[in-house]
Symmetry: C2
Subunit: 209 residues, 2 copies
């Protein structure tokens, strides 16, 4: 009886864990492009295998189902967004207006990863419940970073005191107004540059906090 390993909750017969990690990276890199261009459902597992550089048979040694690939993709995207936001937070802590700095850096991450964030909005519902739950947890964790910033600025007196609930919603609003730049880009980019967008939205958000 073979012992079954699992990396990130995805079972595999392959023994070499480093190889699994490498193949997963290859799969993600190939799939993310195809999903952005064609969407999840119109992309075939064969296309992904070919783009990743191995056969359809090998692909299925590293994942158990097509949905597993979508999960790997969503997880990788969130990891990159989170890394960007965390860095921004550390860098911004000392600045003149730390909240404006964090918003700015976060919006720039959204601008860079526009297609990727849009993909998550469109395809999260195609994930089986188990994976969907994990992806939504990622979303909450990223919003949590904004909560920390707000909480710190309030306790240091740099922002007026507001209720916990109100602060939580402001954190979600910042998240979503960043995403808005990705899913309304078809309209917004015709009227505003990213810099315009950041400036106007920062005014909007700081207006009442």
């Amino acid at each position: 009886m073979e012992k079954i390993r699992a990396i990130k909750g995805i079972p595999t017969q392959i023994k070499n864990a480093d190889l699994v990690a490498q193949r997963h990276r290859q799969i993600v890199d190939a799939a993310v492009q195809l999903f952005i261009e064609q969407g999840f459902h119109k992309t075939t597992t064969r296309q992904i295998a070919r783009a990743a550089g191995f056969s359809i048979g090998s692909l299925y040694e590293y994942i158990a189902s097509k949905e597993d690939i979508l999960y790997l993709v969503c997880d990788a995207i969130h990891a990159e967004v989170e890394r960007g936001v965390s860095q921004a937070m550390n860098r911004a802590s000392g600045g003149h207006n730390p909240l404006a700095e964090v918003i700015r850096e976060y919006f720039l991450v959204c601008n860079r990863m526009s297609d990727h964030i849009l993909l998550i909005y469109q395809e999260t519902q195609s994930l089986p419940p188990r994976w969907r739950k994990k992806v939504l947890e990622n979303e909450v964790r990223i919003t949590g970073i904004f909560m920390e910033v707000l909480a710190r600025l309030i306790s240091s007196g740099d922002l007026p005191h507001i209720s916990e609930r109100s602060m939580e919603l402001v954190a979600h609003n910042i998240s979503v107004l960043g995403h808005m730049w990705t899913f309304r880009r078809w309209f917004l980019a015709r009227h505003y540059s990213v810099e315009d967008y950041i400036e106007l939205q920062t005014e909007f958000i700081l207006g009442n906090v």
Copy 2:
């Protein structure tokens, strides 16, 4: 040679225009439920035909492709949202705080049509370019209603003067913060009632306008 008619840009051989309208309604009613439950790609044309009460052969007398059905569905949803928002605007014009009234009514429409709005976010990208364009135009038109309200309130002096560009972005923000209640419902509804949400977001929006 048969002359080909077209209702809403969808060609059909059926002569009786009322019948076409009725069948389109049946198709939309059947499809909207199935799409919400299963998504567009996992729903089959056979399921739609069965739920609509006729055969797969008849279905294809009224549409030319599965994408046509998605378009009819998206268009019907936007029509209902727009109706709700227009009514709200007329009703709210006289009130104490007209902007707060409009926001409230719009957010209630979003609450009622939560699943439908979410569907549009998820499946718009599955439409062929021609239909997608029309759906995005609907979105712009609904946002335009908020622009009118803002413009009116500014010119009557009920709101402070802000630039046209700034006002346009605020209109988009109102749209999107309504949608946010639908696509973050899995989180928000655990922490806030609709009424909480409306109250806090109204504060947030009015804070700086």
